[in-house]
């Protein structure tokens, strides 16, 4: 039998039919991720009456920017206020979160830190056992008195145990002890070692956890539900949830609607709601590509063995 010449490329790739099959599979999956959002965009651009008459469709039956003009005319103040709150919370929150997380993770990744064990277990416990909503509420609202302040949106998510574990592994893998040792020999203090040696080596990891944190802050509405009463501190996602919840309440209590509607402020229609979804998703979707190059590297490195 004649031997087939084998090239390096051939070893590292699938054969053609398999390749095609997987490509199609991934394409279908990717499409299924994008389609709902395209749908949302399409609905936000459809005329309200067309929605009632024809139902949803990917290509609007009748185009209308009413959803967006409604938002900018009627809810302008609310929307921009909420967007502002969300941005502030995301930026400040991400900074605090990534700082706290990487500091904690770095310390427990160093083998010569005496309380390493205790702090690792301490962190694991909070990750595995949740105290429940009421306990959280008592601490945040009654003990710390954070109700109706912007800190109620930031501090409850300031440290994430899961990210600490990811970062700990990351530090262990990507920063070898010898490099720290050599820095020590050159006379660097602990703080200097962390800032000038360890951090630059850990940029992909930090970018990854920052992205996690930023997404978490951007999408969070539950803390706002619990702790925020003031209109000026309502974040964008909560505003959306509020509208959605109100509509659900109304449709579920259809019998009482005539009595309720007297006190009910006008609810934005379907297209306006979808327009809010678009506005609230777009910024984070746009920022995603900028993180991506770190993201891939950062995520995989946590799981690779040397």
């Amino acid at each position: 039998m004649r031997k087939k010449p084998v090239s390096k490329v051939a070893i590292r790739s699938f054969n053609r039919p398999v390749n095609l099959f997987f490509n199609v599979l991934i394409a279908v999956f990717a499409l299924s991720c994008v389609l709902p959002f395209l749908f949302v965009v399409a609905i936000s651009l459809t005329k309200e009456t067309a929605l009632a008459a024809h139902g949803y469709s990917f290509w609007p039956q009748e185009f209308s920017f009413f959803g967006y003009t409604y938002l900018f005319d009627q809810m302008q103040e609310k929307i921009f206020q909420a967007l502002f709150v969300t941005v502030i919370v995301t930026v400040v929150g991400t900074l605090i979160n990534s700082t706290a997380t990487s500091l904690y993770a770095y310390v427990i990744s160093r083998s010569n830190f005496p309380f390493r064990r205790f702090f690792t277990v301490f962190c694991l416990i909070t990750m595995l056992f949740s105290p429940g909503m009421v306990a959280n509420y008592i601490v945040t609202a009654n003990l710390l008195q954070l109700k109706d302040t912007i800190w109620a949106l930031i501090l409850p998510m300031a440290v994430s145990p899961f990210n600490i574990i990811v970062m700990r592994t990351f530090f262990k893998r990507s920063v070898s002890d010898s490099i720290i040792e050599s820095a020590r020999i050159d006379g660097a203090s602990e703080m200097r070692i962390f800032i000038q040696i360890v951090l630059p080596l850990a940029v992909p990891g930090i970018a990854t956890i920052s992205l996690f944190a930023a997404l978490g802050y951007w999408n969070d509405w539950f803390n706002a539900l619990l702790y925020i009463q003031k209109d000026s501190l309502v974040p964008l996602q909560y505003l959306l949830m509020k509208i959605q919840n109100n509509i659900q309440y109304l449709t579920q209590n259809a019998g009482a609607s005539s009595q309720l509607s007297g006190g009910m402020a006008a609810i934005p229609g379907e297209s306006a709601r979808m327009a809010i979804v678009v506005i609230s998703t777009l910024p984070i979707a746009i920022s995603y590509p900028f993180f991506q190059k770190y993201f891939v590297k950062g995520l995989t490195i946590g799981g690779v063995k040397e």
Binding site: A52, L225, S258, A265
Partner: protein, 488 residues
């Protein structure tokens, strides 16, 4: 590269510092200033709904009046319609300090001891308002023989009506005179559907419940009912009742004929009252709706309704808008006093429900308790009547005549009282079975009620699933508790 990093580092520090000082300053001011005073002579009240746009102006007028009489002020915190349940359950279980709240999950929370016992406080500190309450309100709100709520005197009875869009009735010259049941509406639905196939003839969606002459001990989502036309001492499964079965069959027929939107069992689409996307809808009406007056006002167009159930004073109606005083409140007596005042002082209540006098409305001179609305009366600049206070002392618009008011009072006196008024089913023995039944019902409810599935095939399946879920045990327990309740 280095300078780039320094810039980032520096700007991070600046942003952080700025945020810290800005927000820290804000919150500090708050704790120093208002909350200390708040504890002493401002009562905290949680209310369901949207905050009115002119809340500050409304409350300034109201608080002046409240402070004169009781020496305290009222601070109303609004929580959105859909969020109320979630948030209140956390507030209640965390034991947070508040004074008054719109009741949520009234009976379980009262049993847990979250609310102050008002059995003696209410007649003592809110005598006027308490005396004006219909007896059904007190009876319907007793939990283990004690009263924990101060109900809003309003629609003490209710009945189900089919509401028709008048413009379409006129356009196609349809008559609704003979409609007394669902079935009677069939012929005009047919005519309408032929003329306007794209408009929802019977506008219903997810959560719709077909109604009959029943009352439900634990809500109409469960298969436990009392047949008002049959033996009222027995709890039955309404899905085994012949009349109800006929209703479901009618629904299925309508669904197949296309009168009901084809996605009704899953759709959340609302059909706004003021829109023209619907022809018939189901509504609940009570005495203070003055026929179709309130409904037509809300819709901004003329609507006409036909009732198809008997007017009934039920527990649901009695608990429509309950206000409770928290057990954690330090000012329980003052809280009851304030509730009493809201429910008995016409000047205060009308200022809240109609808006600011002179701006949103004015009295018609020479006529008692009649008002005229001004241009300042806008949808979001006043509070809703049903969950604010005693509807009896509200001024009425000129369109509501003395005859209508007389009719209202007579109809209240005439309305039937539900045999299960005030009956609270204690579920502690049958918790597992109850959640099983809830699961079964969530599977079948929407399909059956909207007519999407054929009841002849599905109801036997439902019965079987219920038996597997432990229906008989719950039924026996409920009947036992009901017998005890009837003996008292």
């Amino acid at each position: 590269m280095k300078t780039w990093k320094k810039v980032i580092g520096l700007s991070t520090a600046v942003v952080l510092l700025g945020a810290l000082t800005a927000c820290g300053g804000g919150s500090k001011e708050k704790t120093d200033g208002s909350s200390k005073k708040a504890d002493e002579n401002t009562l905290m009240m949680y209310q369901i709904g949207d905050k009115p746009d002119n809340y500050d102006a409304l409350m300034e007028v109201a608080n002046k009046r409240i402070e004169e009489k009781t020496g305290v002020k009222l601070n109303i915190q609004y929580i959105g319609w859909g969020d109320y349940e979630k948030k209140m359950s956390v507030i209640v279980s965390s034991g947070e300090n508040y004074d008054i709240a719109f009741a949520d999950n009234y009976v379980p929370n009262a049993q847990k001891g979250a609310y102050a016992d008002l059995t003696e406080l209410a007649p003592k500190f809110a005598k006027d308002a308490y005396d004006q309450l219909d007896e059904a309100y007190i009876k319907g709100n007793l939990v283990d023989g004690k009263l924990y709520a101060f109900p809003v005197n309003g629609n003490v009875y209710s009945q189900q009506v089919l509401t028709f869009n008048k413009q379409y009735l006129d356009k196609y010259k349809l008559s609704i005179d003979n409609i007394k049941t669902y079935k009677d509406a069939e012929s005009i639905l047919k005519t309408f559907h032929e003329k306007e196939p794209t408009i929802a003839a019977f506008a219903i969606g997810q959560g719709f419940k077909a109604q009959g002459d029943f009352d439900f001990p634990i809500g109409n989502g469960y298969p436990f009912a009392v047949d008002l036309n049959g033996d009222t001492k027995k709890i039955i499964n309404q899905y085994e009742n012949k009349d109800f079965m006929d209703v479901l069959k009618t629904m299925h027929k309508w669904y197949q004929a296309g009168y009901i939107p084809s996605d009704a069992s899953t759709s959340n689409t609302e059909f706004p009252l003021e829109g023209n996307t619907w022809f018939v809808r189901q509504e609940t009406q009570g005495p203070y709706d003055y026929g179709d007056t309130i409904l037509s006002n809300a819709a901004g167009q003329e609507l006409v309704s036909k009732a198809f159930t008997t007017p009934l004073k039920s527990s649901d109606q009695a608990r429509m808008a309950n206000f409770v005083v928290s057990n954690t409140s330090k000012n329980k007596e003052k809280a009851v006093e304030v509730l009493g005042q809201i429910n008995s002082d016409p000047e205060l209540l009308n200022g809240l429900v109609w808006g600011i006098e002179g701006e949103a409305w004015e009295k018609i001179s020479g006529k008692e308790d009649k008002i005229k609305l001004l241009d300042g009366y806008k949808p979001n600049t006043h509070l809703p009547a049903w969950n604010t206070g005693n509807n009896k002392i509200l001024y009425t618009q000129d369109s509501i005549t003395e005859d209508m008011i007389k009719e209202r009072d007579e109809s209240i006196a005439k309305a039937e009282t539900s045999p299960i008024l005030g009956f609270n089913f204690v579920t502690s023995n049958v918790k597992t079975e109850m959640s099983n039944i809830a699961n079964v019902m969530s599977q079948y409810l929407d399909g059956l009620n909207t007519g999407t599935v054929d009841p002849e095939e599905t109801v036997p399946k439902l019965k079987e699933a219920l038996v597997n879920a432990g229906y008989d045990k719950v039924m026996t327990e409920m009947q036992k508790q009901y017998d005890e309740f009837l003996k008292k």
